[in-house]
């Protein structure tokens, strides 16, 4: 059963985006229920990152709508979408390389608080991802996993409403990944909506309540993990034509 409209935080309606002849997102629709952790999966090149770009204004859709709290935000500038409380991390990290960890945190806008409060908040979030010892180090000097964690912490500076994570687990070691997942659950408990793109099926199957599966730019399946694991179209998308991923519960 679909949750009712009031319970939807972010919705894609018939989103389309082509790059030349490549239809990266080709009429994709899904609705992310408020206050839940959801997964967006699909083989490489199925359009997940492009969908994130369309949801956050980094790419302009060729067609379709993006509804946040029922308002169409498709095509708005990224900073406007961010200020509505939608934030994200990047698949290939985009930390500010010649700025310190602390400066990376403080660069975020939309925080109508005095400098001192912003610093306190930055300090707490840095501690949350175990980067306190590196707060004065340049972002570019961190390991890839640490950069992922810094991006995650940075995305939380403004206390956002919807959080989009593009492959947050890639390159993060097991211990830190466990902590990251705990943080994600804690965020959910405070009412945040979280959408995760991830190739690590353990993360997806064990932590998401609802999963959207994309292939060739469209949603081919949707449901709770138990349904997705047995879904034939999903298995075909992963095994049938490509060998790029494996769906199994961990």
């Amino acid at each position: 059963m679909m949750p009712d409209a009031n319970g939807i935080a972010l919705e894609a309606r018939d989103l389309r985006k082509a790059f030349g002849g490549v239809h990266a997102v080709d009429g994709c629709s899904f609705a992310v229920p408020r206050g839940k952790i959801c997964g967006l999966i699909g083989p490489n090149g199925s359009g997940k990152t492009t969908t994130f770009n369309l949801l956050t204004g980094l790419a302009q859709p060729d067609g379709g709508q993006v509804l946040h709290d029922g308002v169409d935000i498709a095509g708005l500038k990224p900073y406007r979408i961010f200020r509505r409380g939608i934030t994200r991390t990047f698949q290939i990290t985009r930390v500010f390389r010649e700025m310190t960890v602390l400066e990376n945190m403080l660069s975020v806008t939309g925080l109508a608080v005095p400098d001192r409060v912003a610093r306190e908040r930055a300090g707490e979030l840095i501690a949350l991802v175990n980067l306190t010892h590196l707060r004065g180090e340049y972002g570019g000097r961190l390991s890839y996993g640490q950069q992922k964690l810094l991006e995650f912490a940075r995305a939380l500076m403004t206390d956002p409403d919807v959080i989009l994570l593009d492959e947050p687990a890639a390159g993060v070691n097991r211990t830190l990944l466990q902590q990251l997942l705990e943080q994600i659950h804690r965020l959910q408990e405070t009412g945040k909506t979280i959408l995760i793109v991830e190739h690590d099926m353990n993360v997806i199957m064990n932590h998401c309540e609802r999963i959207f599966v994309m292939d060739y730019g469209v949603k081919i399946a949707e449901g709770p993990p138990s349904e997705i694991q047995g879904n034939e179209r999903v298995i075909e998308a992963y095994f049938g034509r490509r060998q790029s991923g494996v769906v199994h519960a961990g």
């Binding site: 956050t56 985009r94 010649e98 660069s107 940075r154």
Partner: protein, 312 residues
């Protein structure tokens, strides 16, 4: 940076101000004038650094703002009888408005395209100053009536330099400055983190335009003669960039150190070896680019002598 470090830096700036206030008493006219031009280059390098060092938009045409300020001073004093100090504000205002008008389209360009567009815009202002006879007296330039000005212009430049240092310092250590850095590092990510990049870049550009305009005005009144070739001289832009890069662009102290060192070096070689001066300049650029790509401050940071970042 901690409260204590800010206070220490304020005290240092105060000491510098006191020393420079007393300076003309003990110095010859030549050395006073040398000090004035050194301070002028501090202003120019620090201003260039706001848009090009903090924000990452390398400008090859910043002399345009300096020239606009020089012309505002000369035209208003000579043709309209304004007091020269008032014209400095007028020049800064005009330069700020020009920065908004051209910044809006030009700041959409990236990297070398922005640099070249600025070069073109500086050439454009020079041509306008040359052909718009009615306003600028054309290529013949404008002469001021002779006055005694060495002390007044010295103090004006001192005040302007202190203001510029203070503003650059406040920008560098604020969240505004951090966001300019974010734009420099990755404009897409900056916008995805809520930064209205168009507005921030424009603000940085305007800030980087007003102080050079005031400096140009003081310089005009100091020399008492201006002409297009001299005040829209491309080498002044190159000096701003080199000084910032030598000291360490993207920092506050870097451009100050770079301006003092390079202007002093230039003056010494110029006086002693007029022809070798440009060759020495060129060699110097090569050495800095090869061995200290991030300037003296970057060199010190890499060795752990100076802490990373502006905010601690």
């Amino acid at each position: 940076m901690t409260q204590r470090e800010h206070l220490r830096n304020l005290a240092l700036l105060g000491l510098l101000a006191l020393g420079l206030l007393a300076l003309p008493q003990g110095l010859s006219v030549y050395l006073t004038s040398f000090a004035l031009f050194t301070m002028m280059y501090v202003v120019l390098a620090l201003s260039w650094n706001i848009i090009s060092g903090f924000t990452g938009y390398t400008s090859f045409g910043h002399v345009a703002f300096y020239g606009i300020g020089a012309y505002a001073c000369a035209i208003l004093v000579v043709d309209h009888g304004w007091s020269w100090v008032t014209t400095l504000f007028a020049g800064a205002l005009v330069a700020g408005l020009v920065a908004v008008a051209i910044g809006y389209p030009v700041l959409r360009l990236k990297g070398p395209y922005f640099a070249i567009a600025m070069l073109g815009m500086a050439e454009g202002t020079r041509v306008v100053a040359t052909v718009w006879d009615g306003l600028t007296h054309g290529g013949l330039g404008i002469s001021f009536p002779s006055v005694e000005n060495s002390t007044s212009t010295y103090y004006a430049m001192l005040v302007l330099m202190l203001i510029t240092i203070a503003v650059a310092y406040l920008v560098a250590h604020s969240r505004f400055g951090i966001r300019l850095n974010a734009i420099r590092e990755d404009e897409v990510a900056a916008e995805a983190l809520g930064i209205n990049v168009t507005r921030y870049k424009l603000l940085a550009f305007v800030l980087s335009a007003v102080f050079p305009a005031a400096a140009g005005g003081i310089q005009a009144y100091k020399v008492l003669y201006i002409e297009p070739q001299a005040v829209f001289f491309v080498q002044i832009t190159i000096a701003m960039a080199l000084m910032s890069m030598l000291g360490g662009k993207g920092t506050v102290i870097g451009p100050v150190i770079g301006a003092v060192l390079l202007y002093t070096a230039q003056e010494l070689t110029w006086v002693n070896f007029p022809t070798a001066h440009l060759i020495a300049y060129g060699l110097f650029i090569i050495v800095v680019a090869r061995f200290m790509p991030r300037g003296l401050i970057g060199f010190a940071i890499d060795r752990g002598w100076v802490r990373k970042g502006m905010v601690h």
